[in-house]
């Protein structure tokens, strides 16, 4: 079976023009593939570029070299070169992403922050809200918080809203950036269960996880992305 996601020789360098054109290599020649139902965990020291890889797959960061091939709906798209409009469509239909931190929009209730991720038309918003409430309850968000904008929530609560937002829509690819970092043991276990369910549904997952227990439980494959230069040194 062909992989859902295929990274081939992916590299990225940040050029900081305000620092006299300082060049910061972020990711160097990374290749790996992710199949449906597989969870690939990226390993490497802090600063190795693990989050940057997730961001490139999501189109949040540009990719300087290499290809990021996504197979969806019978077509293959190179995300690294996709037009903005294509990328927006893929985010609605193919790629879910749980970022490290929730970017909360003012005045939008937690339940709607989550529901909006799954509802693209107004008419299915009610249905999405039910599903969002279910998922938030499962992640132990108190009932009274559902209608409250998450800006005032604790770090852990915000992260759980963010997780619900990423997990609610059914996407063939799911990117997880330290989803359990600020969670207690009980909520960590819920997230591990959610990941297992996604894998059974055939979701291809790429995750960055620092917690050893979580990593061993969820990972089918571990990809070390320590930069070649540093590896050689």
């Amino acid at each position: 079976m062909q992989p859902v996601l295929d990274l081939v020789g992916v590299s990225k360098t940040f050029t900081l023009h305000l620092q006299g054109g300082l060049s910061l290599p972020a990711v160097d020649d990374v290749s790996f593939a992710v199949h449906a139902g597989e969870c690939v965990v990226l390993a490497g020291p802090s600063g190795a570029g693990k989050s940057s890889i997730l961001k490139m797959i999501y189109g949040n960061y540009r990719c300087d070299a290499g290809r990021i091939l996504l197979r969806h709906d019978g077509t293959t798209t190179d995300v690294a070169r996709a037009a903005p409009r294509t990328m927006l469509r893929l985010r609605r239909t193919a790629i879910g992403y749980v970022s490290q931190f929730l970017r909360a929009v003012p005045r939008v209730a937690a339940i709607d922050v989550v529901a909006e991720a799954a509802a693209h038309q107004d008419d299915d918003l009610a249905q999405a809200e039910d599903a969002a409430a279910c998922l938030l309850r499962r992640l132990n968000i108190a009932e009274r918080l559902l209608k409250v904008p998450p800006a005032t929530f604790s770090g852990g609560e915000q992260q759980r809203v963010n997780i619900a937002r990423g997990f609610l829509p059914d996407m063939p690819v799911l990117l997880l950036d330290e989803p359990t970092a600020s969670l207690d043991a009980a909520n960590r276990a819920v997230v591990v269960d959610l990941i297992a369910e996604k894998k059974r549904q055939g979701t291809a997952i790429v995750a960055v996880v620092h917690d050893d227990d979580v990593r061993t439980t969820i990972a089918d494959t571990v990809v070390d992305i320590t930069p070649h230069a540093r590896r050689a040194a």
Binding site: T15, K55, N60, R85, P106
Partner: protein, 259 residues
Amino acid sequence: MSVDEPLLLAKGLTKRYGRQIACRNVSLTLFQGEVLAVVGESGSGKTTLLQLLSRQIPADAGSVSYRMRDGVTRDLATLGDAEQRFLFRTDWGYVHQDPALGLRMAVSAGANVGERLMALGARHYGSIRATAADWLDRVEIPRARIDDAPAVYSGGMRQRLQIARNLVTSPRLVFMDEPTGGLDVTVQARLLDLIRGLVRKLGLAAVVVTHDLAVARLLSHRIMVMRQGEVVESGLTDQVLDDPREPYTQLLASSILPV
């Protein structure tokens, strides 16, 4: 975003004021349901671009095409007067930074909203008033204020009324020039939330000119960064703001104050 042809298509737009170039060779496409933010500092040419796109000023060079409601894309320069008026009065909206430019300050809020409906041929007083009242609800203006003139409204209410007046005819494209400029932050947040919700619900396409990158991030799918009349960088909003490539965009992005 079902239709695969762009709603608005601009090619090589250029505008000079004397020896000053306000807008140089700007091209863009906008699809149904898409929000494009145009950002840059004062004098970067972003408002000129908005006026060129909406045909309020003539371009020295370049063209603007629009997919009309019958599905045919037309060069706007070839439209007759009646067709131009139809676009302005019904299919397009234009939200000015200063609501006094987009409203009739001395007539009632209800009449401000109803006027655009009457331009479409609505004549029944009761139904015009009911539609106006419904739109006041949607922009969170108390119905009790329907007979007040916007001259006695607060700045935030005026801006919400201007939005209602624009959206009542179900336009497909809305131009916004600094829609939240000059408002208190709390009023701004409410207005942004309202615009965001309406754009999403109605599937509007919009071109939003703003100098506020936070506004751009919140409202837009795509972004164009302008400087001295030229487009410096463009792309997905979050990509350009989180991974800016050009020196000027890096300067802009790094100048956002953390909250």
